[in-house]
Symmetry: C2
Subunit: 457 residues, 2 copies
């Protein structure tokens, strides 16, 4: 049973200090940290460590086989330990011309704050610090030990996180974990995610000549890298969204009855999605309901994220390109894995006559899910009811990816979400933003979980 007076004091403390935390957030957003472009990474790791120390935690910047990882810790009055997984890197800001204010300068318009990474994931770093500060100030001490692991490669596939976790199992030992995101749906209902799809992000590239040629000279007789790429991609997926790589679906587990039951309770966001993204409709004539919800998260994907070849400027250039490449993102569902998919993709391209198309794995992570009946999951759900005044929507798995596999299956932790996001956040797109009310609610929810954690059995 939680102490309502105590929680009310914590909530009041959070509201009184929101301006301070917005200043801290502006400070963090002003420091670019684009992992895909290796821009500002080391500086941001140092800044995050410094911000942890300013809040009274021990913190250090640890090296990994990739970008540095910020590790932090603090002591509490129980022997329980809560781990916060977060990331300090952000997506590239491009295309810059579609931003209404500079991406690395937090800008307020109405009740929204805009900056690259403000929702994904810098606002969550600040929300965790704000929640811990409020709980500690009100209680005098933290009720549990806390650990932070704040990585710098989440936006490029967290490629070194599994090995880092494996190597530092003792350091990271804990009893539960709060994930890097969380928030509300279109109606302001809090959401709870119990798993994530995996990812296998590859670059397909082909080179047919040492230099570009004049299209009038070579058009009829030279191989063309752009055509080779188009034909190769075309063999990967048909117009009905069937992925044509032999064996691609063989390790796909269908959703369980409980998964489908949880999906059935979730609201139908199809109309809002259509409006937010300006879609004429969904793939394969889907219009909403459980079918759309199920497809969105329980189906693996093959998404072209980028295409590049030849001349792309204004007007015309009559060139026959020597090189072409595509970025392709496969989202995986239990129990698919990146090495399996890369192997099957390579075999498929070879069998289709595309040995000239190179496959390079740029990022990968396995899919993972948490058991819905764990006491820590129940705590996260019950505290959400208190903070948001609404029943949370429990998602058995979400469409996105993250390195939750090693946390769930190596460290053996229940992992829950709590946070500041909302569907209009435009994460990964221009004008990424957060809304002030959801920022405050996300801090409160985090604080209530911390307060109740020592008693959750």
């Amino acid at each position: 049973m939680q102490n309502n007076d105590l929680l009310a004091k914590i909530d009041a403390h959070i509201e009184e200090n929101v301006d301070y935390w917005l200043e801290q957030l502006a400070r963090l957003c002003a420091q670019p940290s684009v992992s895909a472009q290796n821009f500002g990474i080391a500086e941001t790791a140092e800044l995050v460590a410094a911000m942890l120390r300013e809040q009274g935690f021990r913190a250090e910047v640890m090296s990994s086989d990739g970008n540095p990882v910020v590790y932090g810790e603090g002591d509490g009055t129980s022997d329980k330990t809560l781990l916060f997984y977060l990331h300090y890197d952000v997506q590239p800001p491009e295309p810059l011309e579609l931003w209404d204010s500079p991406p690395f300068e937090m800008t307020r318009r109405g009740d929204k704050f805009y900056a690259r990474g403000i929702s994904d994931d810098k606002g969550h770093i600040i929300a965790r610090l704000a929640a811990l500060s409020a709980v500690r100030d009100v209680l005098g001490e933290l009720p549990c030990n806390v650990k932070f692991i704040i990585e710098g490669e989440e936006e490029v596939g967290s490629i070194h996180m599994p090995a880092f976790v494996q190597e530092h199992q003792d350091l990271l030992a804990a009893d539960a974990c709060i994930w890097e995101f969380g928030g509300v749906d279109y109606e302001g209902n809090p959401t709870q995610s119990l798993g994530m799809r995996g990812i296998c992000y590859v670059e397909l590239s082909v080179q047919t000549a040492s230099i570009d040629a004049h299209s009038g000279l070579g058009g009829s007789i030279f191989p063309n890298a752009a055509w080779r790429l188009v034909w190769a991609l075309n063999t990967l997926k048909d117009e009905n969204e069937n992925i044509l790589i032999p064996g691609f679906y063989e390790n796909v587990l269908p959703p369980s009855d409980l998964d489908l039951e949880l999906l059935g309770r979730l609201p139908d966001h199809s109309a809002q999605l259509q409006e937010n993204y300006g879609l004429a409709g969904f793939l394969n004539g889907m219009t909403g309901g459980v079918e759309l919800k199920k497809t969105a998260v329980f189906q693996p994907t093959c998404t072209i994220c980028g295409l590049t070849s030849g001349y792309q400027g204004p007007g015309t250039k009559t060139v026959l390109p020597a090189k072409a490449s595509a970025k392709v993102d496969f989202r995986l569902v239990p129990t698919q894995s990146p090495p399996e998919i890369v192997e099957k993709l390579r075999a498929h391209l070879d069998a289709q006559g595309f040995s000239d198309v190179e496959v390079k794995l740029l990022g990968g992570g396995r899919p993972a899910k948490v058991a819905p009946d764990h006491p820590f999951v129940k705590l996260a759900v019950e505290t959400a009811v208190t903070v948001y005044g609404k029943d949370p929507l429990v998602e058995p798995i979400i469409g996105g990816s993250g390195p939750n596999y090693p946390f769930i299956h190596v460290l053996g932790l229940p992992v829950v979400s709590a946070g500041i996001g909302y569907p209009g956040s435009q994460v990964h797109a221009p004008n990424e933003n957060m809304q002030l009310d959801y920022f405050i609610l996300g801090i409160k929810h985090t604080a209530h979980i911390i307060e109740g954690f020592p008693r959750a059995e």
Copy 2:
């Protein structure tokens, strides 16, 4: 019968003055004139007109529906008039990182001179002026009237040239025309081109959403612009180079017996092409001979010149692109025409379910050929024998395109080529260059044609 002493004097004059003309060429190359990027166009037109006036010609910059056209003229001692068609615009210099010296700064390395446009087509503008200057200095006066039409949109398809010629038929009236290019093959044999393929350059674009989405969110349920583009492109041409647009080939004239005879006399450049462009081989297993030569110029093409969609930077960005586009260049042979091809392409995309793919015509021109037995063609061939000491190779049609259709079929002129090019020029590619010896030979050949022109019947 030409006067050998006179020609020897002209040749000597050309050799004595080569440094002056190299300086003029450096001056012209230093002025960027990228029509695809609307960069330096007006400035270059004024510079070219000024350079004509410095050589004693009347010159003016005329407006057109597109970029300005430089018109020039000068009087001679006969009533015959020779028209020079040239262009002052150049291809974009990108990719800049592949240039070994700045593209807009003529740089000598050994006997080669490097700059964007040095061969295509600024070196030819200078070669015409150098030839006219030599003939006039040696003869005292020009033996014929001359006219210049120097346009600024050749590299973007000369889209306004047909209408300009149509509108200014009286101004441009002449008896023969020297085209903007010419030169030698891999063995240094002079070449003579009797026609050019047409071009129909389109942009295919598709938009499936108002903004990009997170690939984890939309990958299974949102339409993806890049996939739509790949699937649409795939319907245009198969892996055996068959263009699949219904009716595409119906206006294609096969080569005549004379065309094939001319092709048969041409040397086989397949080995040099393979080496220069670093090709593993030619399309469809072709290895050379008349089949390769015939395919290279008498087959229409469908070339992807550029692909663009989504994220193209380093590393990964997990984005589902809202927009995708391709630049596609169709080379046409007699009697295909751009409007016909655009119409058939549109109908094909609609029939294949790709009404969402927009087609925009960016540039077009019809194919055209000159009769090989015209006296002016014979003059161009005979003078080449004198200058180069070798029989010229007569190409019935070449793979490239240009606005020769209105000159041949509206003005009714025989059109021949003469110039400074060689197969290593890298036109349209980084490190475009010319070789000093071929520059001098191209000037001499042009001068000999001018000298003999009044007597050619």
